[in-house]
Symmetry: C2
Subunit: 323 residues, 2 copies
Amino acid sequence: MKSILITGISGFVGGHFTRFIVNKKSDYVIHGLSRSKPAWDFIHNLDPILDAITFYQCDLLDSKKTNEIIERIQPDYILHLASFSSVSRSWGEPMTSFLNNTNAFLNIVEAVRTLDFNTKILSIGSSEEYGIVKESDLPINEKKHVAPANPYAVARVSEEYLAQIYANGYHLNICCTRSFNHIGPGQSDQFVVSSIAKQFAELAIYHKKPVIRIGSGSIIRDFIDIEDVIRAYDAILEKGISGEVYNVCSGRGNSINDIVNSLSELTHIPVVVEQNQNLFRPIDNPVLIGNYGKLQTTTGWKPECPIENSLEKIHSYWLNKLS
Amino acid sequence: MKSILITGISGFVGGHFTRFIVNKKSDYVIHGLSRSKPAWDFIHNLDPILDAITFYQCDLLDSKKTNEIIERIQPDYILHLASFSSVSRSWGEPMTSFLNNTNAFLNIVEAVRTLDFNTKILSIGSSEEYGIVKESDLPINEKKHVAPANPYAVARVSEEYLAQIYANGYHLNICCTRSFNHIGPGQSDQFVVSSIAKQFAELAIYHKKPVIRIGSGSIIRDFIDIEDVIRAYDAILEKGISGEVYNVCSGRGNSINDIVNSLSELTHIPVVVEQNQNLFRPIDNPVLIGNYGKLQTTTGWKPECPIENSLEKIHSYWLNKLS
């Protein structure tokens, strides 16, 4: 049997990853850590999933408790999902963002280092680390120098540098990702695709005026389905090379307007788009698309889910949730 | 009158900077913060210097107390010298290094941000941020991408990224340095030049066997006199452009063997050099020399003290201290 500790298990990615492990890896003992108990509304037949987890309520900034939990579990793997992952909130609470990303991670790797465990750790980073990139650098690969332009991105870059020091200097087994925009059922409507899908579900259910409110419609992002993300994280935990950083992305670019149009076709609801200046970010990439060649070469992983399938799943989630 | 808060005032740089301000800037009110009271053994006529300071005993990781002190002082300037600055100790205590560099700095800038003060802040970084550099990049300038290769350097890079976010995102007035190897009287003998000068003083006083113990003799560093460093920090506080990073360096390269030879000539003591493998670092730059063009262009500053003068001052300091 192998043991895995999933931090931030109660979140969107945590739920999808846990279901994946329960369904696909019968030889895994799952330990979950979070500040609050899991209550995933996007998982059908939830009880067997919850039953498969040993849950630890813990704030990762509590280094003593974090250390005790890791010592008790002696995990073969740690998937470190716990994060303060909102860019916009990081501007309002830069200290909270930094502590709950960088310092939380530091507590985990310090525990593994001082306990001298052989744990394979996956540190989740973000495409935000690249900052503003030139179109000639697209699709962006991992050789591009990072240039963090918001507090969240700084925290992620700091975490990545720490991961590399712990991997190369202390010989811990750590891989890092720079994960691009995830999409999938269960994601908060603070994220753009989830917000748009929710608005379409509201149109269908409440017969509201067919207006969709977005920020900038023209920006293009690399949206990757949560199931592809989960398989990527599993592949890196199994086959990733310590000290290396991997883009987790679809390699595709879709504008926000594309997302609206696809959902309009899917739902057969013609809509009017209203762009809300308040949702524009002061500095942002017009286009951000990743290159997943390194991850594919190392692990064989590649993205499989077309964006239309993702949108259909997300729309269904909101229809169920709101009905 | 202008008020300046000097963090880490009790250290080597803090003492030299405080003496400079007391002697040169009669319109400054000096507030000093440190975990321990200043007791500089390298300053003659110390009492008037100490009398000129309002001292606050504080650990900068205590964010509440840090905030209260900054609120009370309303400083026009903050020179943030407090640091856990040993590379080798950072390998043994990576967490302590990170917290006492990055998080301490974060507490300061958060205080200034939330208090909405107009304080000019100088964040001191290190040439360690550059990591391993190619000889073709020498003398290295600020456009070179950072590549931190030890825990101390990671903490410094994280601090610099945070500084830029606070400068560009929140419009705080912050400059950063990447300071190269300081040398001067009062520096701990954990630093190579101070250690060699101390050994020469011991030879003269105790008539020991004329052997000087060093790590690698061939490595070349950019050693800059503490008086030049102090004038650089003053120049950046006065004229530095917010959000910018400045190398503080001499532009000269001297090997460790050069230092030994110069001190041998100065003291007229022929010596045998013993290289101690334990003092070698596993990964290190054979040569590191900085380019100070950006700082000179912006402020007019340039280094003035020849290395022989520095060595003479440091040797005298040890002679006095050990006699």
